[in-house]
């Protein structure tokens, strides 16, 4: 590795450090949105996979990635989207899960995969561990929360409400 490269933050490191605009305690790399960063000289192609179809954070994420790479010395940045396979909450890294829990947001349970049609569930209860006290005596109070990617829960043990990242 040449000296020129060793002092410069790598393109991956610069992109990976970008915070998610709606969950700023985690980075786009923690969430698994950042799929690849390919540098060719000064030109960089960053590939992301959006979470939800209507996620309003996507344009801010793309802007932040471009800005972070410009700051790191890459003037020529292209952000590409990879839609297939779709993002899954299983791509959130262990470090990302720890950061979410430390901020009071329960990380997602493993997503269930279906080979055929998705069966209807009328149970309406998903187990989630309380990020405040660690109890699993919690109940889901709403299937949706302040953003599309989260649901709302309450812990019976400590009485606190909390959000959880939905498993998809």
């Amino acid at each position: 590795m040449s000296d020129g490269v060793s002092v410069r933050v790598s393109a991956w490191e610069a992109a990976a450090a970008v915070a998610d605009p709606e969950l700023p305690m985690v980075t786009v790399a923690d969430l698994g949105i950042l799929r690849s960063v390919e540098a060719d000289g000064c030109a960089v192609t960053v590939t992301v996979t959006p979470t939800y179809s209507g996620c309003p954070a996507l344009s801010a994420i793309c802007h932040d990635l471009e800005a972070a790479l410009h700051d790191a010395g890459y003037p020529d940045v292209r952000v590409a989207q990879n839609l297939d396979p779709p993002w899954t909450s299983d791509w959130i890294t262990p470090a990302g899960r720890d950061k979410l829990a430390a901020s009071g947001i329960a990380p997602p349970e493993p997503a269930v995969r279906h080979d055929g049609p998705i069966p209807l569930s009328l149970q309406g209860i998903r187990v989630s561990t309380c990020p405040h006290c660690g109890s699993s005596d919690t109940r889901e109070t709403a299937r949706f929360s302040g953003t599309a990617c989260k649901s709302l829960h309450r812990c019976a043990a400590c009485g606190e409400p909390f959000e959880s990242i939905k498993a998809i």
Partner: protein
């Protein structure tokens, strides 16, 4: 930022960066398919692809608008966020699908052109999505029928020959499964609730059921939509059984939405949806 600072304020990360572009956060409507290869493969029939994208995109656009009309009017805060999130998912699907429609038909029209520059007879949505909801029971009855059908259609279309449409449907299935569960949960709760909620839920089902025949006909990118009927009816039957509600016996609507024959309720939607764009044709957002 140190861990201590992070614990003090999880949102501190937002303060470090250049935040100029965040003053109008969420309003940057760049091309939703930016950075996705726009090529239509040679073996894909462009007419069929654009027709499917328009049908599915218009369904989502119009129902999203009807759901948005509930914002600030929902019975509880939890329902408010749920409905806004469902509407947002559908609007996101509409944006991707209408953008793809403009790539497929060769017109180069963008999502805004499709959403804001067409009149009702140009839209290809089913008539189910057009009318306003008289009450919350009508909202969940329609959402149950719509999301059950759309989930079944997306499960098939995720294997279609166009990679962009397939990917949009692949993403959409898990969103629609949540919408369906939400609607089904409320139909059961109201149907199996009080005498009043039961009778109002029963009446609401009768406003959605006439549109099933229109939903379950036609062809979307080679998918025979009529073949979705057993699966759709199976899920609806499961929900109604749990809710203690018999399936409504109602005459089918005339249909024709996919051919541009709509009810006056669609004009009402478009008048609101397109008002700013029509009044200020040069506006950008």
């Amino acid at each position: 930022m140190s861990d201590t600072e992070l614990m003090d304020n999880s949102y501190g990360g937002l303060l470090d960066a250049d935040v100029d572009h965040r003053y109008a956060y969420g309003t940057g409507f760049a091309d939703p398919l930016a950075g996705v290869d726009p090529t239509v493969p040679d073996d894909v029939e462009r007419g069929a692809l654009s027709a499917a994208c328009l049908a599915l995109g218009d369904d989502a656009l119009v129902l999203s608008h009807r759901l948005q009309q509930w914002v600030t009017r929902a019975p509880e805060l939890e329902e408010e966020t749920a409905l806004a999130n469902v509407a947002l998912d559908l609007l996101g699907q509409a944006r991707l699908l209408l953008t793809r429609a403009g790539q497929a038909d060769g017109s180069g029209h963008d999502e805004d052109w499709f959403a804001f520059r067409r009149s009702a007879s140009d839209l290809r949505n089913v008539r189910l999505v057009e009318r306003g909801d008289a009450d919350f029971a009508e909202l969940v009855a329609r959402l149950l029928v719509f999301s059950t059908w759309r989930l079944a259609a997306f499960e098939r279309l995720r294997a279609c020959a166009d990679p962009v449409l397939a990917a949009v449907c692949g993403r959409g299935v898990s969103e629609l499964a949540y919408h369906r569960e939400y609607a089904a949960g409320w139909v059961v709760r109201l149907g199996d609730g009080t005498e009043t909620s039961h009778s109002r839920m029963q009446a609401a089902l009768a406003t959605a059921w006439p549109y099933l025949d229109e939903l379950l006909s036609g062809d979307l990118m080679g998918v025979d939509v009529a073949a979705l009927r057993p699966g759709v009816e199976g899920v609806l039957g499961e929900v109604l059984a749990q809710a203690g509600l018999p399936a409504p016996v109602v005459a089918a609507d005339d249909g024709g939405g996919r051919a541009g024959r709509h009810t006056p309720a669609l004009d009402e939607v478009l008048e609101e949806l397109q008002s700013v764009a029509r009044e200020h044709p040069e506006a950008t957002w």
